[in-house]
């Protein structure tokens, strides 16, 4: 059984992004880029399924500029067997990515696609669900536990106020939440091995997909700043301020 794992190259989660002074976007020049953390969890989960003998091949997929090859190499260092990059300079939106992934899924015929629940740059939380709809597959988003057996996948999901468990027929889509697993550290020997794994490059046109953006970004601005308040000397002053000044208790 084959698993597809889409991975996105994003600004590293430790970087504090800055809005460009002309308000056209955030400044990502000379900023450290990494694999989206939720996607790393997806690659780890697929790798563990392979190590457990439930999966035979893990294929990592990315879409974007040619540097996304580095992200695919990281996925292969964690455990993916090969990589596919859909190379394009167009700014991709989730709908476009979902269409690219559908075209690849039609070709590769995986039984399971595991994606991160959202990317930490545009915070959209859409691609997995959109892909499921385009393929006509069932989905389990925000997974904290995945059990694959007997032609179905049982997934525990993190929902508001608790957990929920769903059973899906295969093929299916799973999106990962933070507590699904802790991705392993990538070791040097595995990084070296990953360099030798196959990586195919294709283009949206080759897949017959139109990725033209549907949204126009008119402006990107700093959020309203919250000014620091005051330090109070003791609890009595705090309670007095909360009662008479803030009027919140």
């Amino acid at each position: 059984m084959k698993v597809l794992v889409p991975v996105k190259r994003v600004v590293d989660y430790n970087v504090k992004v800055r809005v460009k002074s002309d308000n056209t976007g955030v400044d990502i020049a000379n900023v450290k880029m990494s694999m989206n953390p939720f996607d790393e969890i997806a690659v780890e989960e697929a790798t563990r399924l392979k190590e457990a003998g439930k999966v035979t091949e893990v294929v990592a997929v990315s879409a974007g500029v040619s540097q996304c090859q580095e992200t695919l190499r990281t996925a292969m260092a964690i455990g993916a067997d090969r990589g596919i990059l859909v190379e394009t300079a167009t700014e991709l939106e989730p709908l476009g990515v979902a269409k690219l992934l559908k075209a690849l899924a039609d070709k590769e015929q995986p039984q399971l696609i595991i994606l991160g629940k959202q990317a930490i740059d545009d915070d959209s939380n859409q691609t997995g669900q959109m892909l499921a709809a385009l393929l006509g597959w069932p989905q389990a988003t925000f997974a904290s536990k995945v059990v694959l057996e007997d032609g179905k996948v049982t997934v525990t999901r993190e929902v508001d106020g608790g957990l929920e468990t769903l059973a899906l027929t295969l093929p299916a889509i799973v999106t990962t939440d933070l507590r699904l697993n802790e991705p392993r550290y990538v070791t040097l020997p595995n990084i070296m091995k990953a360099k030798k794994k196959p990586l195919d490059v294709t283009k949206p046109e080759d897949l017959g997909v139109d990725v033209t953006p549907r949204l126009k970004t008119l402006k990107v601005a700093e959020p309203a700043k919250r000014s620091a308040g005051i330090t109070v000397p003791d609890v009595a002053t705090l309670v007095a301020k909360l009662r008479t000044e803030a009027k919140v208790i």
Binding site: K16, V17, V19, V26, E93, P94, L95, A98, I120, D123, S124, Q126, Q129, M130, L131, A132, A133, L134, W137, P138, Q139, A140, T141, F142, V159, D160, G161, G162, L163, E164, T165, L166, A167, L168, T169, A172, L178, R179, P213, R214, L215, K216, T217, L218, K219, V220, A221, P223, A228, G229, I230, T231, V232, V235, L238, V239, K241, A246, V248, I249
Partner: protein, 310 residues
């Protein structure tokens, strides 16, 4: 122009997130209809019809809508999507799960987690964990939108008298089934709906230490939350987490105890009306967003605070 709101409900009642979404829908400029897809969801439909500003409630009732499976609810939305200019759902686990399926099938982009409606086709939404606000314009015929509750006031739950129409339920997809649910039991309000939140961080030092916050939460009728550091350290359950990857909250009063104020945490609570920080480190970033800060040992200050509240 008519906007359709996908109601989040538990069949017996509406979730508060639905009321906030109705406000955003009304700001899109036209009439507001609400879809209640559920199982024996008459009570939820009645509640939806009473929301001020809603002109029509559409009910689809079937046993396989009971647990809000995305495949089935999305199909039901698509079955009635025809004439709507806007389709909105709350940006909660429920709405985020369903709505992208609808957008993809309609071949339109989704605009996620809007915090402001600038015009019927232009919206503001936070990106990069709230470190930037993007203003985006949709060029699609239908605007498919999820709504962040903290960005919009709740519509009045009473005062409306919408007509109710029952539509035929779409067929069960048969591809996913509900197995079970573990709901965290608590007498406290839900984090995202609470007026007051008392949160603890790594500074608490242990799960046991969170007990010191309970009398404070009791006094204030508060929900209890935590930073990701405290959750990752195993002090408290995952669903307590406030932050970019946890819950986004905006209560009237947020009391951060032993929380340093990592970017990821601030992203989840900085829209709170009043923020109080209790921390022993005067340099902690939390003080840069707090209205009132006290520097000192939380194990002394929290009991004092409880006593002072009387």
């Amino acid at each position: 122009m008519v906007a359709l709101v996908i109601a989040e409900h538990d069949n017996a009642s509406l979730k508060a997130s639905t009321l906030h979404t109705v406000t955003a829908a009304a700001q899109c400029g036209g009439d507001v209809h609400v879809l209640v897809a559920g199982s024996n969801a008459g009570a939820a439909a009645t509640a939806a019809a009473a929301i001020a500003g809603v002109s029509k409630v559409i009910v689809a009732d079937a046993a396989y809508f009971a647990d809000g499976l995305a495949e089935n609810v999305a199909e039901q939305v698509l079955a009635i999507a025809g004439s709507y200019s806007h389709i909105l759902a709350p940006a909660t686990a429920y709405g985020k799960n369903i709505l992208p399926r609808v957008a993809a099938k309609l071949d339109v982009a989704q605009i996620s987690e809007i915090t402001k409606v600038d015009s019927p086709d232009t919206f503001e939404r936070p990106i990069y964990a709230g470190n930037a606000i993007a203003t985006v314009q949709s060029t699609d015929k239908v605007k498919v939108i999820t709504v962040r509750s903290t960005g919009f006031d709740a519509a009045a739950a009473t005062g409306g008298s919408a007509a109710t129409e029952t539509v035929a339920a779409v067929a069960d997809s048969g591809k996913s089934s509900f197995v079970g649910r573990e709901v965290a039991k608590s007498d406290r309000p839900e984090l995202t709906a609470a007026k007051v939140i008392v949160s603890g961080g790594r500074g608490m030092g242990s799960g046991e230490a969170f007990k010191i916050l309970e009398p404070l939460a009791d006094k204030l009728g508060a929900a209890m939350g935590a930073s990701r550091a405290a959750v990752d350290a195993g002090y408290v359950p995952n669903d307590w987490q406030v932050g970019q990857t946890g819950k986004i909250v905006a209560p009237n009063l947020y009391i951060a105890v032993g929380i340093s104020g990592a970017i990821q945490h601030l992203a989840g609570m900085k829209d709170s009306k009043t923020i109080v920080a209790i921390n022993k480190d005067p340099e902690a970033p939390i003080f840069s967003v707090a209205d009132y800060g006290i520097v000192g040992d939380l194990f002394e200050l929290v009991p004092q605070l409880v006593a002072e509240l009387g």
